[in-house]
Subunit: 517 residues, 2 copies
């Protein structure tokens, strides 16, 4: 990752020979020849650039700056201006999540992310989950409607994020999302996406002009939409792989992305094996009655003293608690387990701490924050049934990892790195995730938090034009392993539905913590 | 020219494997892989095509037709439809002359020109000659005005020529014109075109979408504008070279294009030497008081019996005469000369046929058609002064040919073919042109009339995608010879201002006709 990167937008300063009776080349030929020498291939010159070329050359006495963008096949000139002008050169990475959308505003000059900006996916009123939206979009005019409101919202937010810059300063947009989100974004047919045999309209979208979709940007700005590897393996995951870099390495690593699904990729520079399973919603906090996204007020850390049973927690941005997010749930489960408040089978033990346990809707619940502590005056709790869902999710995750490794004849301790991505990837405490048996009990330095890997992948793309080839290679190397059809999975899952596992020897560090060694 | 040609638009019928759980490739990947095998490179798929792909595949049970266009770098998919649909596939060649515009509507399926359509250049009210229009266009808003009226007129005429087809059937437009016309067409800066050192804004225009200019055509239709080789060597001339094919031959030939200027290209597949001179206007009939374009009613053929002095003429489409066009002027001069009505120095001999000679504005004039014969009731005549202009023009043409040959150490009789292009190129009688000493006295089968070579070049382009490379090679091989700066030219011109020449031995066949041998 430390080699010199060549971003997809580059500026060259040129001093062209002045025309004379001995050199009557057209302005275009003069420019094109100089550029071809610089970049080693013949650039495309759009009409808008040809129209301003003559003036720019003469205003700057044939000294000028030329802005080029790489489209995957070659370079296109986007703009040019006299050499003394210094313009902002911005790129925008977009992670179009089904719940939230995140922007990364990149400065191509410094290579730095200037701003991170997030907002809700405007499709949510049409369905919390993707399937509801897909059903809604069965009629073309409704799909068109979802498309337009998505474009409109993204367009408005682009204007917001560009507030102090001109729209003209935005030269490249790279967008990723799951396959459905990308289809809505481009207004592609979604009908067959979720019907057997689950065929996307498009896998690879050739780079287009941002204006084709009416997005606010420079008139020649390019738009790249990440390719998908199938209906259930979207451009967001490919962006995640790109961000992790595991596809460039000799050693074999695993990328874990816990979103609405749990998606896992195992591999290295020679092969990539992917699978997905419905491990996600509970781990995101999504299905819990007090669950919430990782946002201010979400409880993200929990500690329970195994002796005094004192409960401490930490919220995002230190605000009064409003709910609990994915990393908070994992912490809570681990802490309850270590404190003996939940047993190995996931059964609550109210007798050990009666003040914290209540019956809610006839079910046993653990109160993490009492009424008087919270922002809304309601308690924040998790029921036994909900915790069982979390345990199923963590068990599914561990089983996916085991099966995936096994399918290439490896064991989990032979994996060099575990890249942890997802909306809560930045915050997950691997120690806790190991404690509950979600992640394998390997040396902790092997866990690499990636945060929003999809979003970071869009930035990686903008920073490095080789990403085009890397994505092509990833697609070519990627095999999708259908997980749920393997009987082995169900057998293995049974063992993983315990805390941390029926086979405690798989989790020696947890065994030690429990004083069982 | 007989090798199999590959047009710039091609249709492929494909039967794609149907998707299944064992073949979950996206529709786009399925199509792209099949196309890549067919064409040997990766095609570009625009968003409009991706949006309809899914439906078309399923409507036609994965049997479909795909329309691709070559843009000079690779193939782009323009459209697709179920295999049972048969669509019209049209291309349009446009010769944007400064006086008249000619369309050639091509059927890509048969390779045939379906229709030829011509109309006046709408810029004429802004100046009969190009320089007046260039001066007018000095202010950007006025250049914009000329651009817009040109696009508007071309757009309207496209609708006319497509009357019985849909606009959607037009997939490719190839346009040529002189450098100024092309700059107006594209709205490029023209200020430096006609100021030393005479630099065009653009030489090579990368293929663009026709919709960029708002032309009526299929939404993905491509537009190619012929490259120029300088301010005074336009895309029309390159189109003419392409149509002549001289750049593909082993033997050395000459292409003569008489428009407002006389442009001449000498060469073969290895080199091309070009020059231009102000030989044109008189030969076009342009500066004559009774001159007119080659249009219905124009006298195009003249015969004068050397014995009886009976005058006969023929008009275009047999209508009552309205004026005289280029080929008529050449005929008239030759016939007057052979009949002894004009002497070797260009002096009229009224005494030989007093009924036909009059004094008009104090000058001697030969009346070719009397008042009672013409459409407008006015006589059609040529004055002695006008005929002297014609002789200067023909002398300039012959001198250009001589100098050009001499510059590569050849004589005119070593030239394999003389391709005669220009608005009157179809009609010129080489016998007469030799008689007046405009063309060299070589075996007549060496003269190859091309008609509107520029227009034909646009058709050649549409019929053959190799034209892209040929045009690049032509540009690379072309050297421009500045004619007027050579003292030799003026010396040689003096001899060519006689009929047919001071050195009658250069014109043995004329010598025989005159009974001087």
């Amino acid at each position: 990752m430390s080699q010199e990167l060549a971003p997809v937008v580059q500026e060259f300063e040129l001093f062209l020979p002045r025309p004379s009776l001995d050199d009557q080349r057209a302005d275009e030929a003069r420019l094109r020849q100089a550029l071809t020498e610089k970049i080693g291939s013949r650039p495309y010159l759009p009409l808008s650039v040809l129209r301003k070329l003559t003036k720019v050359l003469r205003e700057g006495d044939f000294r000028l700056r030329v802005l080029l963008a790489y489209d995957g096949e070659g370079w296109q000139v986007l703009d040019l201006y006299p050499a003394e002008e210094v313009r902002s050169l911005l790129g925008l990475g977009i992670d179009l999540g089904s719940t939230g959308v995140v922007f990364y505003l990149l400065d191509f000059r410094s290579g730095e992310v200037l701003r991170r900006h997030s907002f809700k996916n405007p499709q949510i009123p049409y369905g919390e989950d993707i399937l509801t939206r897909l059903h809604y979009a069965n009629r073309p005019e409704r799909r068109q409607e979802l498309h337009q409101l998505t474009i409109k919202a993204i367009g408005q937010e682009i204007k917001t994020v560009l507030a102090e810059y001109s729209e003209e300063a935005l030269y490249y947009i790279a967008l990723c999302g799951n396959t459905t989100m990308e289809h809505f974004f481009l207004n592609l047919e979604t009908y067959y996406l979720y019907r057997e045999p689950y065929i996307p309209a498009v896998s690879w979208v050739d780079t287009l002009k941002a204006r084709t979709l009416g997005l606010p940007a420079h008139e020649e700005a390019l738009l790249f939409v990440f390719p998908n590897a199938g209906s259930y393996f979207g451009g967001d995951l490919l962006a995640g792989i790109l961000a992790s870099g595991l596809h460039r390495q000799e050693e074999i690593s695993i990328l874990i992305d816990v979103g609405t699904n749990a998606e896992v990729v195992l591999g290295n520079k020679d092969f990539l094996l992917a699978c997905a399973g419905a491990a996600g919603p509970a781990l995101e906090g999504g299905i819990l009655s007090c669950g919430m996204q990782a946002a201010p007020g979400a409880i993200e850390r929990v500690r329970i003293d195994p002796e005094t049973l004192e409960v401490r927690y930490q919220t995002i941005e230190g605000e009064k608690p409003q709910g609990i997010c994915g990393s908070g749930v994992i912490d809570l489960l681990a802490q309850m387990f270590l404190a003996g408040l939940i047993d190995q089978r996931g059964k609550f033990v109210p007798s050990r701490f009666p003040e914290r346990f209540r019956k809610i809707d006839g079910e046993s619940a653990f109160v993490l924050a009492f009424e008087e502590e919270t922002a809304h005056g309601e308690p924040i709790y998790v029921t036994e049934g909900e915790m069982k869902s979390v345990i199923r999710s963590k068990g599914a995750m561990y089983t996916i990892l085991t099966v995936l490794c096994g399918s290439v004849g490896l064991t989990l301790d032979q994996i060099s790195r575990f890249y942890i991505a997802g909306s809560f990837g930045n915050y997950i405490d691997p120690e806790m995730a190991v404690t509950i048996g979600m992640l394998p009990d390997v040396p902790r330095e092997r866990f690499v938090p990636l945060g929003n890997a999809a979003g970071k992948g869009t930035v990686t793309f903008l920073q490095n034009k080789e990403a085009f080839q890397e994505l092509r290679d990833i697609l070519a190397n990627l095999t999708y392993l259908e997980m749920n059809v393997r009987g082995e999975f169900m057998n293995l899952l049974t063992g993983a539905l315990f805390l941390p596992h029926t086979d405690l020897n798989l989790f020696p560090s947890v065994k030690r913590k429990l004083g069982l060694e």
